[in-house]
């Protein structure tokens, strides 16, 4: 009825290949932007920022990053936590070494450093695939965490071995440290998400994205038609790590404020982001958002219902959450390997025909 391509004529190829080809989707997108920018900043408080919005936005960046590598380019990675740690420690070193520079540049710099590290650990992907590559990236995960624990230079020789973000301001408003307001944190993270999601969309719809997907779907054929596999895989590692590095930097500086590497960026983090990508949908940017939202909101929801509503003990609720997430992952792998994004696509296809069955 309202969700139709009919009548919305595309007269140029630019028009035909836009992100939201159906008018209703465009309106929905503007509505989301309006809510995110026009309403949420004015009503957000510390609880909502630290429990829901900020982690959702940061995990979205990490999930988009991993999705570029695993979903678009087909290279499985279990090193996400390690690469987030690189981003966190890079931003910490940059913040403490150049305190006069704007923190936005520190975060971007952390992304670039992580991209370099990602390329380095991506080199084995030229020789090995699948499970074997997963194990190689797992080595990266453990090596990086070990490195940041063992080399005191990385945590500026602090006695606790932790790093904690010094207070930094953006246009006079505190962004890190204890004084930072929920609104400032939210808006900066939202800005990063908006720009990075746009970059990811551009990259995945153009030549680079097609070369990634070609490598994912059939690497031999990709090479025969002119894709340089070395270039395609390493750019995927670089872009993916850039995103994950920025996520790690924001996670440390804006969200947590103080970090112990094994705790915040351990193997659990790698799996969490991987689960977001799998549940959300491999090879879909919308899926990255959906997966991040799902895995950030689910614990909050369960906690509110089980502990707040039913009065169950907290530890029981926490264990139940693990079981539910595990069950869902098994369910998704069997029932819908393409995740929430695929369910969303199917729903849209049905909606296009609605109220007619065919």
């Amino acid at each position: 009825m309202f969700y139709r391509e009919a009548g919305d004529f595309k007269t140029s190829y630019v028009n035909d290949s836009q992100t939201f080809p159906i008018q209703f989707d465009r309106w929905r997108y503007y509505a989301v932007l309006f809510v995110a920018l026009g309403i949420v900043p004015f009503v957000i408080n510390d609880y909502w920022a630290s429990a829901v919005f900020v982690p959702f936005l940061i995990y979205s960046i990490a999930a988009i990053g991993l999705n570029i590598l695993t979903g678009y380019c087909g290279q499985v990675s279990l090193g996400t936590g390690g690469f987030m740690a690189v981003g966190a420690y890079a931003v910490y070193k940059l913040m403490t070494a150049f305190p006069e520079v704007n923190i936005i540049f520190h975060v971007l710099g952390a992304g670039i450093i992580t991209a370099g590290v990602g390329v380095l650990f991506g080199l084995p992907s030229l020789r090995i695939k699948g499970f074997y590559l997963a194990v190689a990236t797992l080595a990266a995960q453990f090596f990086l965490v070990w490195l940041f624990n063992k080399v005191p230079w990385f945590y500026n020789y602090s006695a606790s071995g932790q790093i904690s973000a010094p207070e930094r301001t953006l246009a006079g408003i505190a962004l890190t440290g204890p004084e930072a307001s929920a609104t400032a944190k939210y808006l900066v993270c939202l800005g990063f998400v908006f720009v990075l999601a746009w970059l990811a969309r551009n990259l995945t719809r153009g030549t680079v994205g097609r070369s990634w997907m070609a490598i994912r779907d059939m690497d031999i054929a990709a090479e025969i038609i002119g894709v340089n596999p070395l270039r395609a895989k390493l750019t995927a590692f670089a872009v993916s790590s850039f995103f994950i590095g920025i996520a790690g930097a924001l996670f440390f500086a804006v969200y947590l404020g103080a970090v112990e590497v094994g705790e915040a960026f351990g193997i659990n983090k790698s799996f969490l982001v991987l689960f977001m990508v799998i549940i959300g949908g491999l090879g879909s940017i919308f899926g990255s958002f959906a997966g991040a939202a799902f895995l950030v909101l689910l614990p909050v929801f369960l906690k509110n219902v089980l502990v707040g509503g039913l009065g169950w003990p907290t530890d029981l609720a926490a264990h139940l959450e693990l079981m539910i997430v595990g069950g869902l992952i098994v369910f998704f792998l069997i029932a819908e390997p393409h995740g929430l994004a695929q369910l969303w696509r199917l729903a849209k296809e049905k909606l296009r025909l609605w109220p007619f069955p065919h």
């Binding site: 551009n202 097609r210 997907m213 994912r216 054929a221 090479e223 025969i224 750019t235």
Partner: protein, 272 residues
């Protein structure tokens, strides 16, 4: 056969040019197995050249040598008058050699349009930064190449499946999309590995028509492997026959048909 040093004119009046590719004494060994034994032949500009032979004769290996997937143990590949240095397959693609596969090798998760757009990979020039910001060349290039791709889609009559993921398409259409992907690169030389395998008569007729039209309209040189003798004899200008890695015949379809070695290879020889 006529002297063909400067090219020749076919029975249906097409002009065939000089040598585009020449295989000189190609030998390919895998350990003790000799897949190709000292084979030489040439492919001329604008012609349809078939490679035939019984199963295991080394035809696909030969195609893999041409497309850079295998490096010949001995011998040289000459392309456009120069010996080709050792190259990775993607570099060969950039020289203007495209191919299709015996078992369809499409990118299953991508749409028909994206598959064919990927075929133009070698012709795209915008760099990654331009693409990331969708600025300057990137956006313009996308539309320009889309226009070329749409022409191929029209040519192959696959407009209706433009945005369908290729994994959902029936076999015959997938073969057609794969041909489209190879054509998108605007190749000088198009290699087709059994383009008609597993097709019914109608699909074969369609595919034959497309192959002839590609050759006729775009002037693309085509080298193909095919088992259907009727198709080979009708389509090709010249035929190379291989058996057990050796060349046993080379010439026009009529010459090859009457060659005693070829008849023996296909029908067997009685030993009494």
């Amino acid at each position: 056969m006529k002297d063909i040093a400067e090219g020749y004119v076919t029975a249906d009046g097409r002009k065939i040019g000089g040598t585009l590719m020449e295989m000189k004494n190609i030998t390919l060994r895998f350990g003790g197995v000799v897949a190709i034994k000292d084979i030489s032949f040439d492919i001329r500009e604008g012609e349809i050249r078939a490679i035939i032979g019984p199963n295991g004769a080394g035809k696909s290996s030969m195609l893999n040598v041409i497309s850079g997937f295998y490096v010949p143990t001995e011998g040289e590949v000459w392309f456009r008058g120069e010996p080709r240095p050792q190259m990775r397959p993607y570099q060969v693609a950039r020289q203007g050699i495209a191919r299709t596969f015996q078992n369809i090798a499409l990118f299953k998760g991508m749409s028909t349009l994206d598959n064919i757009m990927t075929g133009r990979m070698t012709l795209m020039e915008s760099n990654m930064a331009q693409q990331a910001f969708w600025w300057g060349r990137a956006q313009k290039e996308e539309s320009e190449h889309r226009e070329k791709v749409e022409k191929i889609i029209d040519f192959l009559e696959i407009q209706a499946i433009r945005k369908t993921p290729v994994g959902r398409l029936p076999y015959g259409l997938q073969k057609r999309v794969e041909l489209g992907r190879a054509l998108a690169a605007e190749p000088k030389l198009l290699l087709l590995d059994e383009p008609m395998a597993g097709m019914n008569v109608e699909e074969k007729e369609d595919m034959s028509r497309f192959i002839l039209d590609v050759n006729d309209e775009f002037g693309t040189t085509i080298a193909l492997i095919e088992h259907d003798m009727g198709v080979v004899m009708d389509l090709s200008d010249r035929v190379v026959v291989m058996d057990y890695g050796k060349k046993i015949g080379d010439g026009t379809p009529d010459e090859v048909r009457n060659n005693q070695d070829v008849i023996d290879a296909y029908l067997g020889v009685s030993h009494d």
